[in-house]
C-alpha cells in the first residue's frame, strides 16, 4: 500500500536530496537539544546542586543528602516533562494537519478548557480524586470541546478557516471558563486545589502517576503516527485525498482520537499548557518540510525539549520560588503565534 502512493514531497530529485540532508541535520540538532534539555532539567532547579550530586542523585541517590534528594525529585519531573511535551507537540502537529490550520493548539482551540471543565465538575460533584479518574473525564471533556469547536468552526461555505476556528476556540474557552468559575464559586475547597492545577505544571509529578498515564500517551502517539500519510493527503484537499485512495473521514476520526488521548492525558496530569502544540510544528517544518511522517516524530522530540527547557527557565528565574511551566510557555509562545500571524497574508487565514 505505502509503495503505491509516494508523497508529493518525494517527487522531485534535487529538492528531495537537500531536504533529506536538512532532515538528518535537523534530527541531530533536535536530539542534541533534547539531551541538553534533559541534562538541564536534572541539573538546574530552585536548589543549586553540584554536578557530583546530580550524577549520584540520578544513579544511586542517597536520600539523606538533600541535594541528591532534590535531584531525585527532578527525575520524575523530567520524565513527565518529556512525555507531556512530546504529547503536546504531537497533538499540535496532528491538529494543524487535520484542520489545515496553522494556528491550531490544544489550549487556543478550547480542547484543554473542555478537559478542565470536566475534571473540575468531576472533583466538585462526583467527588473524584484519583489521576485515572481525571484522565477519563479529561478525555470526555476534550472530545466534547473539540467536536464542538470543530463543528462550529467548519459550518459555512469555506469550511474551517483558521480565523473561524480560532474564534470558535476562543469563544468556547470563554464560555467554558465561565462554567468553571460557576462550579468553583460554589465550592471553595475545590477552588484551592484547582487554582494550582489550572496553571499547567509538571512540578508535583511522581513516577507512579507517570506510569499510570504513559499507556494512554503511547496509544495516542501510535494513532497519530498511523494517520501521518493520511494527513499528507489531506493537505492536498479533500477531493484529491479521496482520489489518492485515502478515506478522509477515517483519517479525521483517528486523528481526532489521537488528539483527544494526547491532550486529555496531558491536561489531566499537568493541567492546561498552551502554545507548545502551536509553536513546535512550525519549528519542526523548517527541518522536515510538510511530510507528516517526518513532522510528527520531530514535533514529539522538539515538544519534549521545549517543555523541559521552559520548565527549567521557570525554576531558575524566580528563585527561591518557581514559575509553573504553563506560564512560561504562554509568555514564550504568544510572541511566536503573533509572528506567525504577521508573516501571513490575512486572506490566507
Amino acid at each position: 500500500m505505502t509503495l503505491l502512493h509516494p508523497t508529493p514531497t518525494a517527487s522531485s530529485g534535487g529538492r528531495s536530496a537537500s531536504l533529506r540532508r536538512r532532515r538528518t541535520v535537523g534530527l541531530t540538532v533536535a536530539v542534541a537539544g533534547l539531551a541538553l534539555a534533559v541534562l538541564a532539567s536534572l541539573a538546574f532547579g530552585t536548589r543549586v546542586v553540584g554536578w557530583q550530586d546530580v550524577v549520584a542523585g540520578v544513579l544511586h541517590p542517597d536520600t539523606d543528602v538533600i541535594a541528591q534528594a532534590a535531584v531525585q525529585s527532578r527525575v520524575a519531573r523530567t520524565v513527565l516533562g518529556l512525555l507531556v511535551g512530546a504529547a503536546l507537540g504531537l497533538a499540535g502537529a496532528v491538529m494543524q494537519g487535520l484542520t489545515r490550520n496553522p494556528l491550531a493548539d490544544p489550549l487556543l482551540l478550547g480542547v484543554s478548557s473542555g478537559a478542565s471543565l470536566f475534571v473540575v465538575m468531576g472533583i466538585a460533584w462526583l467527588g473524584l480524586s484519583t489521576l485515572t479518574q481525571y484522565v477519563w473525564l479529561a478525555f470526555a471533556g476534550a472530545a466534547a470541546a473539540s467536536a464542538l469547536v470543530y463543528g462550529i468552526g467548519s459550518l459555512g461555505r469555506e469550511g474551517a478557516t483558521p480565523l473561524k476556528l480560532a474564534l470558535a476556540g476562543a469563544a468556547t474557552s470563554a464560555a467554558l471558563s465561565s462554567a468553571v468559575s460557576m462550579v468553583l464559586l460554589s465550592r471553595t475547597d475545590v477552588f484551592d486545589t484547582f487554582r494550582f492545577w489550572q496553571v499547567g505544571s509538571i512540578g508535583r509529578a511522581d513516577l507512579a502517576d507517570v506510569a499510570q498515564v504513559a499507556p494512554f500517551l503511547l496509544v495516542g502517539a501510535v494513532l497519530a503516527v498511523g494517520c501521518a500519510r493520511g494527513m499528507d493527503a489531506l493537505a492536498l484537499g479533500d477531493e484529491l485525498a479521496t482520489g489518492l485512495g485515502q478515506r478522509t473521514l477515517v483519517v479525521r476520526l483517528v486523528g481526532a482520537l489521537a488528539v483527544v488521548l494526547l491532550c486529555g492525558t496531558a491536561v489531566a496530569i499537568a493541567g492546561p499548557i498552551g502554545f507548545v502544540g502551536l509553536v513546535i510544528p512550525h519549528l519542526a517544518r523548517a527541518f522536515t518540510g510538510p511530510s507528516h511522517r517526518w513532522l510528527l516524530p520531530y514535533s514529539a522530540v522538539l515538544g519534549a525539549a521545549l517543555l523541559l527547557l521552559a520548565d527549567v527557565v521557570g525554576r531558575v528565574v524566580a528563585r527561591p520560588q518557581e514559575i509553573e511551566v504553563g506560564i512560561v510557555t504562554a509568555v514564550l509562545g504568544a510572541p511566536v503565534f503573533i509572528a506567525i500571524i504577521r508573516r501571513r497574508q490575512v486572506r490566507e487565514l
Binding site: 494556528l103 489550549l107 487556543l108 464542538l148 462550529i152 468552526g153 459550518l155 459555512g156 461555505r157 469555506e158 483558521p162 480565523l163 473561524k164 480560532a166 474564534l167 470558535a168 476562543a170 469563544a171 468556547t172 470563554a174 464560555a175 467554558l176 465561565s178 462554567a179 468559575s181 460557576m182 468553583l184 464559586l185 460554589s186 471553595t188 477552588f191 484551592d192 487554582r195 494550582f196 489550572q198 496553571v199 499547567g200 498552551g274 502554545f275 520560588q321 514559575i323 509553573e324 504553563g326 506560564i327 504562554a330 509568555v331 504568544a334 503565534f337 503573533i338 500571524i341 504577521r342 490575512v346 487565514l349
Partner: protein, 351 residues
C-alpha cells in the same frame, strides 16, 4: 408597503417614508429599553430580603430623607449596587458594540480579544501580589486595559490594521494574560485568591458609593466623546477603501474609536470586574431589535444595562445560592454565543 397604505402623505417619497419608519422604530426601541432599565432599577432597589416601596426609595435616594431600615438597605447597600450595575452595563454595552461594528465581526468583543483580560490581569496582580485595594486597583486596570489594547493594535499594524489580524493577535495576547492571572492566583493566599476569583467573575457585591463617583465621572466624559467619534463608524463599516474615498482616514478614525471604547470597557471592568459576555451580547441584541434603524451605540448601552441589572437580580434572588452577576451572564451568554457562531458562519462571517 406602509407608504402605499398611507395615501394621506402624497409628497412623501418612499425614501422619506422609510426614514420616518426607521426613526419611529428607533424611538420605540430606545423608549422600550429605557423603560425596562427604569423598571429593573426600581425592582433592584425595592426587592430583596425586605421589600420597600418605591416611595421609600425616592425618599431615601432623591430627597435624602432618613427612613428607618430603608436608609441603610437602600441608601447604603442597594443604591450603589444598582447604579454601579447600570453604569457598568452601559459601558460594556457601548464599548463592545464599537469593537464589533468596527472590526465587522460580532465575535470581536473585548472579552474575546484580550482587552478585558488585560484590565483583569493587572487588577488581579495588584490585588494578590501588591496588596492593592480600592481606587488604586481601578486606576491600574484602566491603564493596563489601554496599554494592552494599544499593544494589540500596534502588533496588528502592517500597512494598516485588518480586523482579522487584530482579532487573532488579540486572542494570543489574551491567552498570555490569562496565564498571568493564573500565576497571580497561585501566589495569593486563599483569602485573597477567593476575593480575586469573585472579582474576576464580575460582581456587584463590592459596589459602594465611593467607587461610583469615579465611574460616573469617567463615563460623563467618555460617553459623549464616544458619540462624537462614532460618527465615523458607518463610513468605516463600508470598508477601508471606500472610507478613504470619502475622506476618512480609516486607521486614525479606528484608533480614536478603539481608545475611547477601550477606556469605557476598562473603567467598567475596574469597577465590577469583567462581567462575562455583556460587551459581547449587547451589540447583537440591539442590532436585532433595531433591524437597521439607526445608530447602534445608545441602544447597545441600554441593552448592556438591562443585562447587568437583570443578571444581578437573577444571581441574587432566583438561584439556589447567591452567584455574582458575571456567572449568570456567562452561563446565559454561552448558548447564545454558540448559536451566533453557527449562524454568522453560515452567512459568511459578517455581523
Amino acid at each position: 408597503m406602509s407608504a402605499a397604505l398611507a395615501p394621506a402623505a402624497p409628497a412623501a417619497s418612499p425614501v422619506a417614508a422609510g426614514r420616518r419608519r426607521r426613526a419611529r422604530r428607533r424611538r420605540l426601541v430606545v423608549t422600550g429599553l429605557v423603560m425596562t432599565v427604569l423598571a429593573l432599577v426600581v425592582v433592584g432597589l425595592c426587592v430583596g430580603e425586605r421589600l420597600y416601596s418605591p416611595v421609600d426609595a425616592v425618599r431615601v435616594l432623591l430627597l435624602g430623607e432618613q427612613v428607618p431600615g430603608a436608609s441603610f438597605t437602600i441608601g447604603t447597600l442597594r443604591g450603589p449596587r444598582v447604579l454601579t450595575g447600570l453604569l457598568a452595563g452601559v459601558a460594556f454595552g457601548m464599548g463592545g458594540a464599537v469593537f464589533q461594528t468596527m472590526l465587522r465581526n460580532p465575535l470581536a468583543s473585548p472579552d474575546i480579544i484580550g482587552v478585558s483580560a488585560g484590565a483583569s490581569a493587572a487588577a488581579v496582580v495588584a490585588i494578590t501580589l501588591l496588596g492593592a485595594s480600592g481606587s488604586g486597583v481601578s486606576v491600574v486596570a484602566v491603564v493596563s486595559g489601554l496599554l494592552v489594547a494599544g499593544l494589540i493594535y500596534a502588533l496588528s499594524w502592517r500597512r494598516g490594521v485588518q480586523g482579522a489580524r487584530l482579532v487573532l493577535i488579540g486572542i494570543a495576547v489574551g491567552a498570555m494574560l490569562e496565564s498571568v492571572i493564573s500565576y497571580a492566583m497561585t501566589r495569593a493566599g486563599i483569602y485573597d485568591a477567593n476575593e480575586a476569583l469573585r472579582w474576576l467573575t464580575g460582581s456587584l457585591n463590592s459596589a459602594f458609593w465611593a467607587d461610583l463617583g469615579p465611574l460616573a465621572a469617567a463615563m460623563a466624559v467618555l460617553v459623549p466623546l464616544l458619540l462624537v467619534v462614532a460618527r465615523r463608524l458607518p463610513v468605516l463599516q463600508l470598508g477601508d477603501e471606500a472610507a478613504a474615498g470619502l475622506g476618512v482616514r480609516p486607521d486614525r478614525a479606528r484608533l480614536a474609536l478603539l481608545l475611547v471604547a477601550v477606556a469605557l470597557v476598562s473603567v467598567g471592568t475596574a469597577t465590577t470586574g469583567p462581567i462575562a459576555f455583556v460587551a459581547f451580547l449587547s451589540g447583537p441584541i440591539a442590532h436585532r431589535l433595531l433591524r437597521g434603524a439607526g445608530g447602534l451605540l445608545v441602544p447597545a448601552g441600554l441593552v448592556g444595562a438591562v443585562l447587568v441589572l437583570a443578571g444581578d437580580l437573577v444571581g441574587q434572588h432566583l438561584l439556589v445560592a447567591r452567584f455574582p452577576v458575571g456567572v449568570v451572564t456567562g452561563v446565559l451568554g454561552a448558548p447564545y454565543l454558540l448559536w451566533l457562531l453557527a449562524r454568522t458562519n453560515r452567512s459568511g462571517g459578517r455581523l
